[in-house]
């Protein structure tokens, strides 16, 4: 039983570790959103057993998304529903933590050791999460420990290419007060071997200058002032050091280094009584990026007040106001500190109709430095047909405001464009879900069809020798996705099989003159038509084994889809062994990860090889002096 491995996991099913099950929210009336959209909640047990492997690898194993990684340990971003990395909002306990400067999240700056709950929402949800939530959202959440007394745990992991990870966590629970502090430290040389096909006879070489290291602290304090008054404070600090790898097609290996430092502080007050829920959040996000001495510092002060009120028996209103102040200071932003004020209001009107129908009508309006950005309406519906089956549908406007780099960059042959308009478009989605079970067998199927048209897509283009961002095209992404899950229980055995598949067409619909007309109707680079994952798991008593097979279809890497530069399909297989034992207050677990067991030679980004077979072994030790 692995629920003790993380303070926030005790409410989870103890057998969730076994499965990579996709979860569809079936009780949407409990939350303002999502209605009409598909949510994949990463199995909490799997998340815990994967601690130390990094967020990039976690997403590669489980997400119905394309992970674009510049080699092992290099910059890695996630792309949902055929959109770009800046079109996936990344949320930490409901706060958007996408970078102010570049508008995208390097997955290396997340830590799965600091996450109690990870969920991916597919499809546009700007009406709820604001700018950037076009392809979907990645949510990383912490939950309040339920420990009463003291609990200590540590995770130690080591493996191929000099990878080492250690974390230490202490939790103290005293009735109304819970305190949790966690520290991690990691390093990896990432000096694997690969075949350098850029050279005559393709000799084997060592991938160099790709090492990473980092450390982080997460401190959480929860205080239940009263049963209906709750206060929490979280502080996430992280330092990352990353050697920037050079494409293998470049013979001379560079020595560039990137250092990231971040602080994320979130203060949250919540009041709940008689169906009324009032929530205040204030957060400070600090990012400092040092690339070879060029420093970019950004701050975001986010303040949000939100109220959920039952207006009538089957009708409730969720409304809020958000004020965010952002600053940016960089060698490339000129001498002034750049500032931006964002004021947003939103409202969701939810109605539970008869016959199992729930609808949500939402609006959102953001004002950016006194100017209105696109008005965002949304209508979504869930229809429960019977206990086993429901339908969902959603139509919603989406948007993304330009980043500070887009607006203010000057230097190195590039120049920002302060006149950029926000990207905006409409996303539509319909879905069908069926869940059934009888005796020792349960199964579930989910199907989604989706479309998304994004206008004013921002792209950096070259004019007169200067690269500058422009609103140059309309992109139409559409496709289908399915996921399924089957579990069979027999005596002390549990066998599961699950998977997901996405077919995505994401093409340029219209282009400005700055773009080569040959790119019209062509698939966006690094958006595979086909991708999917299958997982098979077997549990017997304290022993579990999971196999994951991830397939990423052919990807074009340039604008007019040259076959010559396309990345071929690649298949990557992962095996995870888990076993554990309990001795009184002490509990221990052993993890063994075997990655790329098929030894696939592949690039997730052209010029950046991924490693062949590699492995790591980890242990988790826990002491808990109280029964929970």
């Amino acid at each position: 039983m692995f629920f003790w491995m993380s303070p926030g996991s005790q409410a989870q099913r103890t057998d969730t570790l076994l499965w990579l099950k996709e979860v569809v929210v079936r009780n949407p009336e409990q939350t303002a959103n999502p209605i009409g959209l598909h949510v994949q909640r990463i199995d909490t047990g799997f998340l815990q057993a994967d601690e130390g492997n990094g967020f990039t690898e976690l997403m590669q194993k489980v997400a119905g998304a394309n992970v674009r990684a510049y080699g092992l340990g290099g910059l890695a971003t996630i792309s949902l529903r055929g959109t770009g990395p800046s079109h996936t909002a990344v949320l930490w306990n409901g706060i958007n933590i996408q970078g102010v400067a570049a508008g995208q999240m390097d997955l290396n700056l997340l830590s799965n050791g600091f996450a109690d709950d990870v969920a991916i929402q597919y499809g546009g949800s700007s009406v709820t999460f604001g700018s950037g939530a076009i392809g979907g959202t990645l949510s990383v959440n912490n939950s309040k420990p339920s420990t009463e007394g003291l609990e200590f745990s540590t995770v130690l992991r080591g493996g191929s290419f000099g990878s080492l990870y250690q974390s230490y966590e202490a939790i103290a629970g005293f009735n109304k007060v819970k305190l949790a502090a966690k520290y991690f430290r990691n390093k990896a040389d990432n000096d694997f071997t690969f075949r350098n096909t850029a050279l005559h006879n393709a000799p084997k070489e060592v991938w160099e200058h790709a090492g990473t290291s980092g450390e982080g602290i997460l401190i959480q304090q929860y205080y239940d002032i009263k049963t209906d008054h709750k206060l929490s404070l979280r502080w996430w600090y992280q330092d990352n050091y990353q050697e920037v790898p050079t494409p293998f097609t470049i013979i001379t290996v560079g020595d560039d280094v990137q250092k990231d430092r971040l602080h994320r502080i979130l203060l949250n007050y919540n009041y709940q009584r008689n169906g009324t829920d009032i929530d205040f959040k204030t957060a400070w996000l600090f990012n400092r990026l040092n690339y070879e001495g060029s420093v970019t510092e950004t701050n975001a002060w986010i303040n949000e007040a939100e109220a959920t009120i039952w207006l009538a028996e089957r009708l409730y209103l969720n409304t809020g106001l958000n004020y965010t102040h952002e600053t940016g200071n960089s060698n490339f932003y000129g001498t002034d500190i750049r500032r931006r004020n964002r004021l947003t209001t939103y409202a969701h009107l939810k109605r539970n109709w008869s016959h199992g129908i729930v609808s949500n009508l939402s609006v959102r309006q953001e004002m950016l430095d006194g100017k209105l950005v696109p008005f965002i309406p949304s209508l979504s519906v869930n229809a429960t047909l019977n206990k086993k089956m429901f339908l969902r549908g959603s139509t919603s406007r989406v948007y993304r405001i330009p980043t500070f780099n887009d607006l203010y960059w000057r230097g190195s042959g590039a120049e920002g464009n302060p006149d950029l308009a926000a990207e905006s478009g409409w996303g539509e989605e319909i879905g069908w879900n069926y869940m059934d079970g009888s005796g020792n067998v349960t199964w579930e199927l989910d199907l989604s069809l989706y479309g998304n048209q994004i206008q004013n897509w921002i792209l950096w283009t070259e004019t007169d020798g200067i690269w500058s961002p422009e609103n140059v095209k309309t992109v139409w992404s559409r496709g289908m996705a399915w996921s399924g899950d089957l579990q069979v229980f027999a005596n002390e055995w549990i066998v599961g099989i699950g998977g997901n598949y996405q077919y995505t067409l994401s093409t340029n619909k219209s282009l400005a003159a700055a773009i080569n007309s040959r790119e019209r109707n062509k698939q966006l680079p690094y958006v595979p038509y086909h991708q999917g994952k299958i997982n098979v798991s077997v549990r017997h008593k304290n022993f579990r084994i999971i196999y994951i097979h991830a397939v990423t279809g052919k990807q074009f890497t340039n604008g007019d889809n040259s076959e010559a530069f396309a990345l071929p399909r690649y298949d990557v297989g992962y095996i995870k062994f888990i076993t554990h034992m309990d001795i009184h207050y002490f509990r221990g677990a052993l993890f063994v990860d075997l990655n790329n067991i098929l030894g696939e030679e592949y690039n997730a980004r052209r010029g950046y090889p991924m490693p062949g077979f590699y492995f790591n072994i980890g242990i988790n030790l826990n002491f808990n002096n109280t029964e929970t």
Binding site: T193, N196, T197, A198, L199, H200, P203, K204, E205, V206, E208, P247, F248, T249, I250, I251, T252, V253, G334, T335, R410, G411, E415, T461, E462, D464, G465, I466, A514, I515, N516, R518, E519, K522, P525, H549, K554, T557, N558, G559, D560, S562, E563, A564, F565, A566, P568, R569, D571, G573, I575, L594, I597, L598, G599, R606, G607, G612, F613, Y614
Partner: protein, 363 residues
């Protein structure tokens, strides 16, 4: 530092658990093109850092272009940012600047001969000197330490390095003299160095307009040098005209500058790609991305363009005399190659690789 190569007997990891799975592999290789009786190569730079530089081939007999021939024949990518190619002694030397290497192929069947990497940092152009020797200009680290590397064509190793100035670029051989223009690299220079190809020593230096990039000889034996000039920027990255210099065209007679024509404006797309027609009487060049022509007897620059498009590369076909101009578009998708006659009429056009910048002819 160069990448470390592994010994062939490096340890092999053993997978402990195997899972039987249906496993498909895909092959998207293009058909290997027939080299054809004669043609020329088109060098496509690709997008910087995107590892998508490529080589195209135009076949005179079929009048068709085959793209990506290097990868189609060798089964491996060409690399990052090929700058030029020279066909010499039956071999094609592709100078891949971003990859800091020379790819050597057989000019007739395009098969790979070898890859030369040792001693190269940021190579630009190759000039054949003899059956055993060639010169390669090299911008050096950070583009500020220009040299000419002497390549031993038997061992395919760098046998000597000659310091020439910043951003050693195009070269021109006249008897035993090799003229090297120092394009400034990422800095500034205004010299043409002269190397004695029998001793591999610098014997002379000629001052020309700032940042000379290309060099040609006309029918009268005069040498022409096209300089890009220099664009300076202030702290806010605005163009600083006072510290910038305009492009210029220089005529050299008997190793002395006798004429310098300065271009009228500071333009982001500076003058480049000086070429001469097969009669040696007309010069062609790109300026502000447009194609211009000028007689070798002219004393002033033309005010109007010969062909107005957004060109990125330029060559003159020694077989037909046609002007070959290339369009790069957006560095993310395929470029175009256009044929023009001496009257500026467009004869034909082809889709080539990303960012085509020049041609290499089999002579």
């Amino acid at each position: 530092m160069k990448r470390r190569q592994l010994c062939l007997n490096s340890s092999v990891l053993v997978v402990l658990i195997a899972v039987a799975l249906t496993f498909f592999s895909c092959s998207d290789n293009d058909p290997i093109p027939d080299p054809g009786p004669a043609g020329f190569f088109i060098v496509n730079e690709g997008g910087f850092g995107n590892s998508n530089t490529s080589l195209s081939y135009y076949d005179y007999e079929t009048g068709e272009v085959t793209n990506n021939i290097f990868q189609s024949v060798t089964g491996r990518p060409l690399g990052d940012q090929a700058q030029s190619m020279t066909v010499f002694e039956g071999k094609g030397y592709i100078v891949v600047q971003g990859s800091a290497k020379l790819e050597v192929i057989n000019a007739d069947d395009h098969t790979s001969v070898t890859t030369i990497t040792e001693g190269l940092v940021s190579p630009r152009y190759l000039l054949g000197i003899s059956s055993t020797k060639a010169y390669v200009s090299d911008w050096g680290e950070f583009g500020v330490t220009g040299t000419v590397k002497v390549i031993d064509l038997e061992s395919n190793m760098v046998s000597k390095t000659i310091a020439t100035g910043q951003g050693a670029n195009e070269m021109l051989r006249v008897d035993n003299k090799v003229y090297v223009v120092n394009a400034g690299g990422w800095g500034r220079d205004n010299t043409v160095k002269v190397i004695d190809s029998t001793t591999d020593e610098i014997v002379d230096a000629i001052e020309v307009g700032e940042n000379p990039r290309s060099i040609q000889q006309d029918a009268g034996g005069n040498i022409w040098v096209l300089s890009a000039g220099y664009l300076a920027y202030d702290q806010s990255w605005n163009l600083d005209p006072e510290n910038s210099t305009k492009s210029s065209l220089t005529k050299i007679v008997s190793d002395e500058e006798v004429l310098r024509l300065e271009f009228p404006e500071l333009t982001f797309s500076t003058a480049s790609h000086l070429r001469v027609d097969i009669a040696g009487e007309v010069l062609y060049y790109l300026y502000d991305d447009k194609l211009f022509r000028i007689s070798v007897d002219a004393t002033g620059l033309p005010e109007t363009a010969f062909v107005e498009k957004g060109f990125y590369g330029l060559s003159v076909d020694p077989a037909s005399g046609n002007i070959i101009a290339m369009e790069a578009s957006d560095f993310s998708s395929s470029g175009s190659m256009y044929f023009y006659n001496a009257e500026g009429e467009e004869l034909d056009s082809f889709v080539v690789g990303i960012a085509p910048n020049g041609c290499a002819f089999i002579q």
